[in-house]
């Protein structure tokens, strides 16, 4: 042991203060457990500091500017000037307010906060190294530990985030000015959200993607709408090309891509954003000391109670597997905390909703039609296009639709796919429907306020039942 090492004991030690960890810590403390939360960087984790929150703040800013500049049809004539440094400052204010809130909430609930990097000593002990060198360290003995160390952006061979013109999403969200031209590698949700936002702020965006379309995992008719709108914003897509190298050029960078059969192409930009996915963070932990080993993809395996193979240790959030989403992290954090407190909690949710904040937004939850078939259901599908929605038209929006997937026999709602305005919000009702075991009739019979976009959810359910009013039934 290091000289000067203090050793304290705690019921629950939580490692990492992202939406997995801080939520777990607060819930554990609410359960009456002595709880210690260890974070080496910033409260709120990736989500609040470099992910969900800053990206959505910039996306909102870009939306306001773009919408005003493109509303001639509505009689609005504006040519907004955007001061990105100022937008950055506003964004930082939002982040500070929320991360400060996290710290306050932890303290108010009685969570002990420790700054430093935690590593496992054994199955009931952590070592925490404080800040820089010479700042000392301490040991923490725990009854239970909850690992919530999150994820980091993946690199691809030849592209090192240490090099200035090679940007991660985090680098980009720290920008003081928008690049004139940007090459984006990857058309997953992060690549698409940031590309759309930048295009609205005036950047010439070129997206290169190894696969043949945007947003892997989404259905074709959903992707099509988002891609079309992105193209209308001036984003140029090159599919079937993987980024293989980059070099500096007199006015920025040149990125080389390669097709499967070896065809090379070059794209120029001020910089290159690499957004090809995220990988779990386990190398900060010395997992070997407790005999845990990440799986093939680097995740820590857990069971339906968020427990790892070591009885005293839980893992939650991005480090515990897909989907790597903040709200899934928080749910797992709550369950882990409750299980640690002896409650009969379990990860028995029926669906994890997901949103993509593109133009327009995507919101999905539960099964697609194909997934329902695969799962052995005989699915029935109903759809309502937003071009038949009064509210959508009054918002100048008509692209997209709400789709509801249900079991033909019982009428149970199995899933929903929404692409269109406020899709991220609208999906909440379908998530509740799925968790409740609601039927199409339940959704259809619920009165929905006029004029709202949410009426389209009701209408899609009616369409599946053959009783829609504002769409033709099949």
């Amino acid at each position: 042991m290091v000289v000067g090492d203090i050793s304290t004991g705690t019921d629950v030690a939580v490692i990492g203060a992202g939406p997995g960890g801080y939520v777990a810590a607060i819930r554990a403390a609410q359960e009456g457990l002595d709880t210690t939360l260890i974070e080496r960087d910033a409260y709120g984790g990736v989500c609040l500091n470099h992910g969900c929150i800053p990206s959505k703040a910039f996306i909102h800013g870009a939306d306001v500017a773009h919408e005003a500049g493109n509303a001639e049809e509505l009689g609005i004539h504006a040519d907004p000037a955007v001061d990105v440094a100022q937008m950055q400052e506003w964004k930082s204010g939002v982040v500070d307010r929320l991360t400060g809130g996290v710290e306050k909430l932890c303290k108010a609930n009685g969570v002990n906060l420790i700054e430093g990097t935690a590593t496992f000593a054994d199955e009931n002990k952590l070592r925490v190294a404080h800040g820089g060198e010479g700042q000392g360290s301490e040991s923490i003995e725990f009854e239970h530990a909850i690992v919530a160390t999150g994820s980091r952006p993946m690199q691809i061979p030849g592209f090192d985030f240490a090099d200035d013109p090679v940007l991660s999403s985090r680098d980009l969200l720290g920008m003081e000015a928008v690049p004139d031209r940007l090459v984006v590698v990857g058309a997953g949700y992060i690549g698409m959200e940031l590309s759309t936002m930048l295009a609205k702020l005036g950047t010439d965006v070129t997206v290169v993607e190894m696969l043949e379309d945007v947003l892997p995992g989404y259905e074709d008719d959903v992707k099509r709408i988002v891609r079309k709108r992105a193209e209308e914003l001036g984003i140029e897509f090159h599919f079937g090309e993987g980024a293989s190298a980059w070099r500096e050029s007199p006015n920025g960078v040149v990125v080389t891509t390669e097709t499967e059969d070896g065809m090379e192409t070059e794209y120029a930009g001020d910089a290159v954003l690499v957004a090809v996915g995220r990988e779990p963070v386990t190398d900060t932990l010395e997992l070997g000391a407790v005999g845990l080993e990440p799986d093939d993809r680097g995740f820590i395996e857990t069971d339906h109670q968020a427990r790892t193979d070591v009885d005293s240790i839980f893992a939650v959030g991005d480090v515990a597997g897909e989907p790597m989403l903040a709200h899934k992290a928080s749910k797992e954090g709550i369950v882990a905390a409750e299980v640690a407190a002896g409650e009969p909690a379990a990860l028995d949710y029926q669906a994890v909703p997901a949103a993509v904040f593109t133009e327009p937004e995507i919101g999905t939850v539960g099964m697609t039609e194909a997934e329902a078939e695969e799962a052995g259901f005989d699915p029935v599908v109903g759809q309502m296009p937003f071009n038949a929605s009064g509210r959508a038209l009054t918002m100048g929006e008509s692209d997209g639709f709400v789709r509801v997937v249900a079991d033909e026999e019982t009428g149970f709602v199995l899933g929903g796919q929404i692409v269109g305005p406020e899709a991220s919000e609208l999906v909440a009702e379908l998530a509740l429907a799925i968790e409740m075991g609601a039927t199409l009739e339940d959704v259809a019979a619920t009165i929905h306020t006029h004029p709202t976009l949410a009426e389209a959810v009701m209408e899609a359910a009616e369409n599946a039942m053959g009783t829609a009013i504002h769409t033709l039934n099949r």
Binding site: A345, D348, E374, G376, T410, F412, M436, A438, E441, D442
Partner: protein
């Protein structure tokens, strides 16, 4: 907490009924639901527990569906438990709350 079971595949029971099932050590997938389409209510879970049913996975029970449904314990079919759900209406015993019957319970 050791009695808590995993239920794979879709479960057609509200979160509150699922939590009750965990508390009572009942595998919710083994409960025959009395609600529309076989939706499981709190009362169904209680009935199931009182009649001694616990961990069976209901291969036939409408409350859970999907190929991944794994028999976690006994392998007994829920069909044998069908008599447990003897017509207890959805939302029974909920006091004055008129909100206790979903739209689809009105046939």
């Amino acid at each position: 907490a050791d009695a808590v079971e995993a239920t794979e595949g879709r479960v057609f029971a509200p979160p509150s009924a699922r939590r009750l099932a965990r508390e009572l050590g009942v595998n919710v997938a083994a409960v025959n639901g009395s609600g529309p389409g076989g939706r499981v209510t709190d009362a169904d879970v209680r009935n199931h527990a009182e009649s001694g049913g616990t961990g069976e996975t209901g291969g036939e029970a409408k409350a859970s569906k999907g190929p991944k449904q794994v028999d976690m314990s006994s392998g007994k079919s829920a069909v044998s438990r069908r008599e447990d759900a003897d017509g207890e209406p959805a939302g029974a015993g909920t006091g004055g709350a008129s909100a206790s019957a979903a739209p689809s319970t009105v046939e």
